[in-house]
Structure formats: structure tokens, C-alpha cells
């Protein structure tokens, strides 16, 4: 690719001054016209607080929310990846039934408003699937130390079922998008690759494992990375079913303290921190892939 030299021109300067002006104006309006008294000093105590018994600093609302968001994102990304790869392969097989399953799954999820889906899944998952899997029973019968470990990786006992249904919901939701990414990746591999593998006598599984998937994965890594970032953003929607992740905690805090701007700006920055780190990781990965081409 041709690299163009970046040059700073007068127009850029004018635009930057203009942008600063707009930001200043907004703050001016908030401070003067709304007579909003900002209280930024209050925010840190909602990130960390002193434990009254030991005197140590421990995470408070917002940071706890961030941790839940991270746990939620990690597990639902993993679930979405598993479901997405399986469904993506289903959508490219010769067997009509499997293609149909994949197609129905994707169309069902992509064509419903996410919020409706969340409620549907939540009541279905927590009402039907989880008792069937015995999740509640499982967590209740664990030893205290096992519960502590589960609390670290998932959620504490009281919120465990909710957390699991949240993960299932976002995981299945993400899975639909990952399905399409995987499908397009598999379909982008030239037909001749499969024909050559077939002619050599390789089984379908070996064709997928040694020929199609290694090439497809390389092509879908960048869009897959973007889906991971989306998962973090979309996880905020489960605040609607009272999972205490970052958005939920932010809303609780904002309504009880009325420091609306401070709380939401802090929440936004926390999300940005997560997604920007991921996004840098994705572009670094893309760059490395481009070198090996």
C-alpha cells in the first residue's frame, strides 16, 4: 500500500479549534444554563471503598460493575464463538437439515430487536433451561471455597442463575453474528481447495481441519475481533434483566446520587478503556497478518 505523508494544514487547525469550541460550549451550557453543580470528587469512592472491618481498599459499585461486564463478555464471547463456528459450518454443509438449522438460528436472532430477545431468552433460559441443567442445585451444593472460585470467575451465589442466563443470552446473540462471519470465511475459500483435498481422498473432517479452516480463520480474524468488541458493548443490554454489570450499576448510582453527568461519563470512559484495548489488539493482529501475506 502507498503511504501518504500526513501534513498538518491550516484547515486542520481551524477544525480543531472549532471542535474545542463546541466542547467548551456544551460544558458552558451544562454549568451555567442548567446550573449543574458538578461533583467529580464523589466519583472515586464509588470505584473503590474502604472495607470498614479491615480498612483495606476494595472495589465498589462501578468497579464491581466493570468486573461483571468483563466476566460477562469473556464467557459470552466464548459461548458465541463455539455456537458461531458450529452454526457457521452447518450453514456451509451439503446437508439441507443442518443448513436449515443454521439459517433459522441466524434469521431469528438478527431480525428481532435485541431487547425483546433478551426478555424472551431470559424468561425462557431462567425458567426452562437452567432448572433442567440443574444450575441452581449445582451452585448451592458446592463447598464454600468452590463457591468463592465460582464467584471469582462467574458470579456470587445469589446472582449465579441470572449471570448464567445473561451469558447464554449474549452468547447466543453474538453467536448469530459470528455464524455469518464464519460462513463467509468458509465460503471465501476457492472451490479448488476442497476439490483438490477431495481428490486426494481426505475425509470431510480432514478437509475442514487441515485445508478449509486454517485458511478461513486467517481471513476472518479481523471481523471476528470486531465481534468481540461488539460483545462488550452489547453486554450492556442485560442491565434490562437486572444483571449488575457496568450499565446497571451506572444507572443505579445516577438515579440515587443524581450526579448524572459524572457517573455516565465515568461509565463511558470505563467502556472505552475496555473496547479501545481490544480494538488496538485487533489492529495489531491485522497488521501482523498482513505481513505474513
Amino acid at each position: 500500500m502507498l503511504k501518504q505523508k500526513v501534513r498538518f494544514k491550516l484547515l486542520d487547525l481551524i477544525l480543531i479549534i472549532f471542535c474545542i469550541g463546541i466542547v467548551y460550549f456544551i460544558f458552558y451550557r451544562i454549568n451555567v444554563q442548567l446550573e449543574y453543580r458538578s461533583n467529580w470528587a464523589a466519583i472515586p469512592r464509588y470505584l473503590l471503598r474502604k472495607d470498614p472491618s479491615t480498612g483495606k481498599l476494595i472495589p465498589n459499585y462501578l468497579l464491581l460493575g466493570l468486573f461483571t461486564t468483563i466476566r460477562l463478555s469473556v464467557w459470552s464471547t466464548l459461548l458465541g464463538l463455539v455456537v458461531g463456528v458450529i452454526m457457521g459450518i452447518f450453514r456451509t454443509t451439503k446437508i439441507l437439515f443442518l443448513r436449515l438449522v443454521g439459517r433459522i438460528y441466524v434469521e431469528f436472532i438478527r431480525n428481532l430487536p435485541p431487547l425483546v430477545l433478551i426478555f424472551l431468552f431470559y424468561y425462557f433460559a431462567s425458567g426452562q433451561i437452567l432448572p433442567l441443567l440443574g444450575v441452581e442445585e449445582f451452585i448451592r451444593t458446592r463447598s464454600a471455597s468452590a463457591q468463592a472460585i465460582l464467584a471469582f470467575f462467574f458470579a456470587e451465589k445469589a446472582l449465579f442463575t441470572q449471570f448464567v442466563s445473561g451469558v447464554i443470552t449474549i452468547g447466543l446473540f453474538e453467536g448469530a453474528f459470528i455464524t455469518e462471519v464464519v460462513r463467509s470465511g468458509i465460503e471465501s475459500i476457492e472451490r479448488g481447495q476442497r476439490e483438490a483435498a477431495y481428490s486426494l481422498g481426505l475425509s470431510w473432517l480432514d478437509q475442514m481441519r487441515f485445508i478449509i479452516m486454517p485458511q478461513a480463520i486467517k481471513r476472518i480474524l479481523p471481523p471476528l475481533g470486531n465481534e468481540f468488541i461488539s460483545t462488550v458493548k452489547r453486554s450492556s443490554i442485560v442491565s434490562a434483566i437486572s444483571i449488575q454489570e457496568l450499565t446497571f450499576q451506572g444507572r443505579q448510582l445516577a438515579t440515587s446520587t443524581l450526579w448524572v453527568f459524572e457517573v455516565w461519563i465515568t461509565v463511558a470512559l470505563m467502556y472505552l478503556m475496555l473496547t479501545l484495548i481490544l480494538s488496538f489488539a485487533v489492529s495489531a493482529m491485522e497488521k501482523r497478518l498482513r505481513i505474513s501475506d
Binding site: 476457492e190 479448488g192 481447495q193 476439490e195 483438490a196 483435498a197 477431495y198 481428490s199 486426494l200 481422498g201 481426505l202 475425509s203 480432514d206 487441515f210 485445508i211 486454517p214 485458511q215 486467517k218
Partner: protein, 250 residues
């Protein structure tokens, strides 16, 4: 070539037809028999169905009707039969179809290890023999993108040969090559023919046909128009369509 001993029939094609979705009939009631160690060249204008016929022979295309028997194994719905035929029939494609994420050596190794269940060491030994045979052993650790078209096609031939096939199919193996690379591939194929490999070759390379082919089928519109030795085609082709075609490519 006359001293070459031809064996019994190894490929029997009986009354095979193939129509693509969309109604184009690519192959119409095609029948032929090919003996062991025979080199058959199939010629014909583009769209005459010669590639489709070739692809039917190893199951890449499914004939609508008719039977194909290769080395006593019928190519039918039985998966074991199909796998057996895929193992015994090597195929070389116009676009090489090497696996771009594997080195030349890994390309040749893969099916030996996965299908023939050889150890990596055994497979590598065989692969190096085959790469030496096609004159490209020194490029064993190169990726396809680092090889020229002619080199890639030779690796593709080595890959098919390493499976020890009883029959080799070539689908216009030199059509995608720059002119200066055609001969290096044809030389490999000629050697193979002289060693007694059974070969079915779709090509317009008259030099190749003249040197090693036992007979030639001229196809048009999915059917055999004329068969005979190369000399027959050069000296006195019978059919008008054959004459017209030959006048265009010679």
C-alpha cells in the same frame, strides 16, 4: 510407444450423461474403455464437456445416469467405493490448487499421513522422492506463493503421485501457465507416460499428444465426434468439426 505393454481395461465408462442445473447437458451418453498403462488425450472446443467427463471419473461431478467402473470398483453411492476410487485416482487441475498455507513438502505429505496412515517420516521420504522426480526437491520448504506456475504444477503432480495412484487425470494442466513454463510440466508428464502410468489428459498440446498418447478422443457437444491415433488426426480426420477445430489450434 508401441513396445509398451497395454493391460486389461482399467476404466470403463458406460453411457454416462451429465446435465447441470440450468439444463445445460455437458456429457451425453458417453462410453469408452481405457486400458492399463494407456495414455488417452481428450480434445475438443471449450464447453464440449471434456472437463466434466474427467471430473466424473473421480467423483467430483455426479453423473445423472450411466456407470463408471475403475479398477473393478463401481463409482456408486457407496462411500467406501468412492473413497477407494479417490485414493486410486490422482487428479491434476488447471489452477494447480496447491494448499497455500502449507509448504510444498507439507502439500505432498498431508494425504499420505491422513489417508494412507503413514508416519511423518515415511511420508517425507516418499514426498522427497516424488519432488525429486518432478525436479523440484530443492523447493520442498517453499510456500506455493514463492513458486512459479510451472513449479507449482509440478508440486501438484508430485502430490498426486505420492498417493501411488493407479490412474492419473490431468485437467488442462498447462492452460494456466506462461508459455516458457509449459515444457517443464509436459516433460514430467511424458516421463510419467513412459513409465507406464495410466493417464487421461485433457489438453490441446499436440506435441505431447504426438509423443506419448496411445489414442485421442475428439469431443464436441458432450459426445465423441471421432477417435483415433494422433497420426490419424494429423493426416486424415474424418469429420468436418474435427478438421475445423484442428485448423484452429495447429
Amino acid at each position: 510407444m508401441s513396445e509398451k505393454k497395454l493391460g486389461e481395461h482399467i476404466i470403463t465408462v458406460d453411457n454416462v450423461s451429465k446435465t447441470f442445473t440450468g439444463g445445460i447437458q455437458a456429457v451425453k451418453n458417453f462410453s469408452t474403455k481405457i486400458r492399463r498403462s494407456e495414455v488417452l488425450v481428450i480434445m475438443g472446443p471449450s464447453g464440449s464437456g471434456k472437463s466434466t467427463l474427467l471430473r466424473c471419473l473421480n467423483g467430483l461431478e455426479e453423473p445423472d445416469s450411466g456407470t463408471i467402473i475403475i479398477d473393478g470398483i463401481p463409482l456408486d453411492d457407496d462411500k467406501r467405493h468412492r473413497l477407494e476410487i479417490r485414493k486410486e485416482v490422482g487428479m491434476v487441475f488447471q489452477q494447480f490448487n496447491l494448499f497455500p498455507h502449507l509448504t510444498a513438502l507439507e502439500n505432498v505429505n498431508l494425504a499420505q499421513i491422513r489417508v494412507r496412515k503413514k508416519s511423518k517420516k515415511e511420508a517425507t521420504e516418499m514426498s522427497m522422492d516424488m519432488l525429486t522426480k518432478v525436479g523440484i526437491a530443492e523447493k520442498a520448504h517453499c510456500y506455493p506463493a514463492q513458486l512459479s506456475g510451472g513449479q507449482q504444477q509440478r508440486v501438484a503432480i508430485a502430490r498426486a503421485l505420492a498417493m501411488m495412484p493407479k490412474v492419473m487425470l490431468f485437467d488442462e494442466p498447462t492452460s494456466a501457465l506462461d508459455p516458457e513454463m509449459i515444457n517443464e510440466v509436459l516433460d514430467v508428464m511424458k516421463n510419467l507416460a513412459r513409465e507406464g502410468m495410466t493417464m487421461v489428459v485433457v489438453t490441446h498440446e499436440m506435441g505431447f499428444a504426438r509423443e506419448v498418447s496411445d489414442w485421442v478422443i475428439f469431443m464436441d457437444d458432450g459426445q465423441i465426434v471421432e477417435t483415433g491415433t494422433v497420426e490419424h488426426f494429423f493426416k486424415n480426420p474424418r469429420e468436418e468439426r474435427t478438421k475445423l477445430f484442428l485448423s484452429q489450434i495447429l
